[in-house]
């Protein structure tokens, strides 16, 4: 035997990577003079202690499923899309324009509004990914830097639109008018009440959660059961070999990036349409970046992304509760996110090499 068993690859190593990241995060909390165990308890209680906590945890989880899937599709094509943040922002613009300007006569029910919003959000997100994708495919400009630049440009664009053309007249805040009532999505409270389950009224988790879960299945089928998915994966594994198989690199780069952008844009259905119900400046709240950690942790598999998104949903909600009840600011989540990306992404070999050696040594001992 010269390989590790599969369970070690998909479960043990990610677990060890995560463990190191969490132990280091605990040390950071300790270093700024707080008790890491108390902090963890506060986080667990804040995220899972009530249906209110669950409602926020699942709301963030929904965001991260979308952005995590988005990053993972790009990763499959050997591309690093750091532009999820901007694509989700512009996706939000699409969702907002759909909600504000499609006449309500055309949208008699929230489900029809949801379809319109998903189309608009997806198209706008994909559009924002198109230029970096085109420049990568045609001119070799590195997609990592161009997508980061497009995040900054998206921020400036939204800033302009919400201060000038789309701003609600006479309001102090830079935000658009509220969306019409018919576009408001049912929350988990409204969905679960008929089933006799009481769920917190003020929690933002909404029907988009099920859209996100469906998206996991769609992405799985697309990547593993369709010709396009096969081509994307083949290109990601070996661009040169895939060219000989008749796969066009230009097409794959552009299609994969636009799919990635579209799914990032869909995030806005949850955040902009489901929660804020109007266009605001920072609706994305860093979810686009967390998608990177989620995709890496989930090993780019939709089911892995789902689990990782739940973990980060917990961290995000727990982290905000923590900032209310202790002196630890919300930025703790960015530190954890950085450490998770570092250990599951870049320093993977640090854990993998010794573990692999251990398994091989153990197997040899058995043989002898």
């Amino acid at each position: 035997m010269d390989k590790m068993p599969k369970w070690a690859d998909v479960a043990l190593i990610p677990f060890l990577n995560l463990l190191i990241a969490f132990v280091l995060s605990g040390l950071v909390i300790f270093a700024i003079g707080e008790n890491p165990f108390k902090a963890l308890m506060t986080m667990i209680d804040g995220a899972f202690g009530s249906t209110y906590g669950w409602g926020y945890t699942l709301y963030y989880t929904t965001n991260f499923i979308f952005t995590g899937l988005a990053v993972s599709i790009a990763f499959k094509a050997a591309m690093f899309n750091i532009g999820g943040e901007g694509q989700a922002m512009i996706g939000g613009l699409g969702v907002g324009l759909a909600c504000l300007f499609i006449p309500t006569a055309l949208m008699p029910h929230w489900s029809i509004a949801l379809v319109f919003a998903m189309i608009a959000g997806g198209l706008f997100g994909a559009g924002w990914a198109l230029i970096p994708a085109y420049l990568q495919a045609k001119r070799g400009s590195h997609v990592v830097i161009t997508t980061i630049m497009f995040n900054f440009i998206a921020t400036a664009l939204m800033g302009y639109l919400l201060i000038k053309p789309l701003k609600l007249k006479g309001a102090q805040e830079s935000a658009s008018a509220s969306f019409p009532d018919v576009t408001n999505l049912p929350t988990l409270h409204e969905l679960l009440a008929p089933l006799g389950i009481s769920f917190s009224k003020s929690a933002p988790a909404n029907v988009s959660l099920f859209v996100a879960l469906a998206m996991c299945v769609v992405v799985y089928l697309l990547m593993n059961r369709s010709r396009l998915g096969y081509e994307i994966r083949a290109f990601g594994e070996s661009p040169t070999a895939s060219v000989y198989a008749g796969i066009s690199p230009t097409k794959i780069i552009i299609v994969a990036m636009m799919l990635s952008g579209a799914i990032s844009g869909l995030m806005a259905v949850n955040a902009t349409m489901g929660q804020h119900e109007r266009l605001i400046l920072n609706a994305v709240e860093g979810a686009g970046f967390i998608g990177i950690a989620v995709a890496l942790m989930g090993r780019n598999h939709p089911f892995g992304v789902l689990l990782a998104a739940l973990l980060f949903g917990f961290l995000y909600q727990g982290g905000s509760e923590l900032s209310l009840w202790s002196k630890i600011p919300r930025e703790l989540i960015i530190v954890i996110q950085g450490l998770v990306i570092l250990f599951t992404g870049a320093l993977d070999n640090m854990v993998r090499m010794p573990v692999e050696r251990m398994f091989i040594a153990a197997a040899k001992r058995k043989d002898a």
């Binding site: 950071v28 700024i32 003079g33 690093f80 750091i82 230029i131 970096p132 420049l135 001119r139 070799g140 400009s141 590195h142 990592v144 830097i145 161009t146 980061i148 630049m149 497009f150 900054f152 440009i153 400036a156 664009l157 800033g159 302009y160 201060i163 000038k164 970046f289 990177i292 890496l296 002196k327 630890i328 600011p329 930025e331 703790l332 989540i333 960015i334 530190v335 954890i336 996110q337 950085g338 450490l339 990306i341 570092l342 992404g345 870049a346 320093l347 993977d348 070999n349 640090m350 090499m353």
Partner: protein, 335 residues
């Protein structure tokens, strides 16, 4: 627009270009040795924070400089371990370090100073002060003449205006940054170390065959990049600004990378490229809304301009630029 205004914009462009220039040269050493460094941004940020934090506690800007550079080098070391020793993905490592920097600076600032993620404003010895070159018009001349300095410079001849405003009156780090340009050129293109460093970025196997350690050279490049990037952050917090504010690097690390590509991985063009970005920022700062005969360019557009220009440069509309061949690939020794 009169001549003095142009001089003043150029003066502010030079200040704003300095952090970019340090970071660009840091990226130059790193990428010439074959290591992508998306993490410039994070290194600028940690160094800015450490410099401001230490300077505000000890009151000594030089101690701040030391600690800022040290923080940046530690981040470089992690990047080196991830991308050289463990052959990890260099882009992912850089992005991770950027997040780490962005979070940990606010966490530490909050824990130490409790001022909402910033350090107290730096004063006196906690900052780098402008250096007045000989014969330049300065405060003492203004006092002697009994008029404000602004008036004195306004009345001076153009050469004196350029000298006093543009050339004189910067902090020491601006002059250090300018000095780094010929120094980097000399090290990279006129020394044996530089030749080997460039070779490692083009064809590491050949360097290895010649009996020179690829690993050592790459770590050396990381150390140099860490130092230069550290100076960028130190200048940002103690020269350009007066203290640390969260996210104060504002994408400068990425812009420096674009400038590096624009400069075709050469030190002297790097000066020009970073000055151009500095100029854009200076113009955006000075003119909030530019009126072009009825059409008003909004301030948000001016703020986004450096980022848009970065994309245009990366798109290669400014000439072809070829990266070091072995960039981004970990070196695996053949057995």
């Amino acid at each position: 627009m009169d001549f003095l205004t142009i001089v003043q914009i150029a003066d502010s462009a030079l200040r704003l270009a300095t952090p970019l220039l340090f970071a660009c040269l840091a990226g130059l050493f790193s990428e010439r040795a074959g290591i992508f460094d998306i993490g410039l941004e994070g290194k600028i940020l940690v160094s800015a924070f450490m410099a401001a934090a230490v300077a505000s506690v000890t009151g000594s800007v030089w101690l701040g400089l030391l600690c800022g550079v040290f923080a940046s080098i530690s981040f470089s070391a992690v990047h080196g371990v991830a991308s050289i020793t463990f052959r990890g993905n260099q882009l992912i490592s850089g992005v991770a370090l950027n997040f780490l920097a962005s979070g940990i600076t606010v966490l530490a600032a909050q824990a130490w100073f409790n001022q909402g993620g910033r350090t107290p404003p730096l004063m006196g010895e906690g900052r780098f002060m402008p250096i007045e070159l000989p014969f330049a018009l300065g405060k003492s001349d203004a006092e002697a003449a009994g008029v404000p300095l602004r008036v004195l410079i306004d009345q001076a001849n153009p050469i004196q205006q350029v000298y006093s405003e543009f050339i004189s009156g910067h902090t020491i780090l601006v002059y250090v940054a300018l000095l780094m340009v010929p120094l980097s050129w000399f090290v990279l293109f006129r020394t044996r170390f530089g030749l080997r460093l460039r070779a490692v970025g083009e064809n590491p196997a050949a360097v290895d065959t010649a009996g020179v350690s690829v690993i050592k050279l790459r770590y050396a490049s990381m150390a140099i990049a860490g130092t230069l990037c550290g100076l960028s952050g130190v200048y940002l917090a103690t020269g350009l600004g007066a203290g640390f504010i969260k996210e104060m690097s504002a994408g400068r690390g990425y812009i420096a990378l674009a400038a590096l590509i624009f400069a075709k991985w050469k030190p002297v063009p790097a000066l020009g490229a970073t000055f151009l970005f500095g100029l854009l920022e200076a113009i955006a700062n000075r003119y909030q809304n530019i009126d072009l005969g009825g059409i008003v360019i909004p301030v948000q557009f001016m703020q986004a301009l450096p980022y848009i220009l970065t994309v245009v440069i990366l798109a290669g509309f400014v000439g072809k630029s070829v990266a070091p061949k072995a960039g981004g690939q970990p070196y695996v020794k053949e057995r």
